[in-house]
Amino acid sequence: MTNQTENLPLEENKYTFAAASDSVKEGEMIDIFLGKETVVLARVDGSVYAVDGICSHAYSEMVDGELEDHCLYCPLHFACFDIRDGSVLEGPAVTPLSVYDVMEQDGSIWIKALDIYGE
């Protein structure tokens, strides 16, 4: 596991510190743990995206999969999700991955859980 966040108190604007910017390299992903949630952070074309770290299909950790451009493949049954909005690009998954709003500031990545998928 690449990065462990400390239990920082939620900031007023509900963003939580997720990782240092330089720990998420272009075209790569890491997973972090926020409370009970596992979150995958990935950088594609410079932007950082954050999605649920556990596949929405059965049980598999998405960080063990592969990232190809904006396509995130699950290593168990090879479902494919769009890292940008969590949508399913290829089954067997039918439910999108939940996504987090991401802010990158002063070398830090902050994320905020979105209440509704795709909000």
Partner: protein, 411 residues
């Protein structure tokens, strides 16, 4: 795109059948889809039956593949609890047990497989179970509280997963296997030994090279008698001794081996009749093989369905794959091999995280087993798909990426 007056009939609403029906709609097929099954449950997923569902971690709703509304939206005419009385392959019609006659333009057989039964004394005692359907799984779960000791006959994948589930549920498990080692016919002796030790380390009483000859009990099974004279006390038995493809339909007319023989497009020996999934035998790298696994059922079902629409034909060549969850081991197996030349280990067996490669004479990887190494899954699948030689000496070196283990010719 397609003639909306056309009818495609699919027999078997299992994994292959349901994905085939969906694929037809995704391809914008507008004709009628009739999907028939003798089972009375809405289509559901089978793999959780021995794992999450058996453990009580997932429910019927979790494992359902579609709701009634979904199916209506997809305009799939699903007929459950129906048997096929007759198929006339010349007239292209079928008579169903509910009296309806269906005239089909194309027929897809996705009849799957059945579990091999043990024809021995005591087989009809209460508590002697098989696990194939949701109702089988519910029957087993229904009596869990009354079961302390359980005997599992057959240490194949379903047997091994059940051993794991029942250990997690705190039961005493005896695993009986006729072969000297579990799964050695697929994974080889070294891995067979490894998985035998895994069961033993988890506290399972594993009895190899012995088989059941009789189940004893009044009305309820109380013990299993083995060929070598052992008596295993138990309150339940689950038999998992392999599967047989369901090829009863059109058996006089179709070419059948271990399953309906199909070509690379899924066509059987009769015009307009196709087969996919567990019930089919198909050409993979020049050999006709049968694969009885979930990923294959989905991909084969989808591919053959698309080919049925008559557009550009795609030959099916997906690298066979299955996974299995046992205790805290996740197994993933890619490829297909019977006569490998050598095996190569990458990673550390003690860490419970390794990949094990099966190579042929030309150093092409024919198959690979990954144990708790999902990170390697997609790379290994690509490697096997390429069918090119590797340098075996490089494979064990985890500092070298898998794709860099390919053999490169130097002029």
């Amino acid at each position: 795109m397609t003639n909306s007056a056309e009818t495609i009939m699919i027999i078997g609403a299992g994994i292959a059948g349901i994905h085939a029906a969906e694929a037809l709609r995704n391809e914008e097929y507008e004709g009628r889809i009739v999907l028939i099954d003798r089972d009375t449950e809405l289509p559901y997923d089978r793999p959780p039956l021995s794992k999450e569902f058996m453990l009580g971690e997932s429910t019927e709703t979790d494992i359902a593949l579609h709701t009634q509304e979904n199916l209506e939206e997809l305009q799939i005419d699903l007929k459950l609890g129906v048997e096929i009385v007759l198929i006339d392959s010349e007239k292209q019609s079928a008579v169903l047990s509910d009296g309806e006659t269906i005239n089909w333009d194309k027929l897809l057989l996705t009849t799957g497989s059945s579990l091999r039964r043990l024809p021995i004394q005591g087989s009809d005692l209460e508590g002697v179970h098989y696990l194939k359907t949701l109702s089988d799984a519910k029957a087993i779960r229904g009596n869990l509280d009354d079961i302390q000791q359980i005997a599992i006959v057959g240490a194949g994948f379903i047997g091994a997963e059940l051993a794991s589930s029942f250990k997690k549920l705190g039961k005493e498990v005896t695993l009986l296997e006729r072969a000297p080692l579990p799964l050695a016919h697929i994974l080889g002796d070294e891995m067979g030994e490894y998985f035998l030790q895994m069961h033993q380390a988890e506290g399972v009483e594993a009895i190899m090279e012995d088989t059941v000859v009789q189940f004893n009990g009044e009305t309820q099974v109380e013990e299993v008698l083995t060929e070598k004279g052992k008596t295993i006390p138990c309150q339940a038995v689950i038999v998992g001794v392999g599967v047989i493809p369901n090829t009863a339909l059109l058996d006089k007319e179709l070419q059948i081996d271990r399953g309906y023989i199909v070509n690379e497009f899924g066509e059987t020996s009769l015009p307009n009749v196709y087969a996919a999934g567990d019930c089919a035998m198909w050409p993979f790298l020049g050999n006709n093989i049968h694969i009885e696994h979930w990923d294959h059922a989905i991909n084969h079902g989808k591919c053959v369905a698309k080919n049925m629409l008559g557009g550009e034909q795609t030959s099916y060549s997906t690298v066979p794959y299955f996974w299995s969850d046992q205790y805290d081991y996740r197994l993933q197996y890619f490829g297909h091999t019977k006569n490998w030349e050598t095996t190569v280990l990458r990673g550390n067996v003690e860490d419970k995280e390794f990949s094990y490669f099966y190579l042929n004479k030309s150093n092409v990887i024919e198959a690979a087993l990954l144990v708790n190494q999902p990170k390697n899954a997609l790379a290994v699948r690509r490697l096997i798909n390429q069918q090119k030689p590797v340098v075996p000496e490089l494979l064990p070196n985890t500092d070298i990426k898998l794709k860099e283990c390919m053999y490169v010719e130097v002029d």
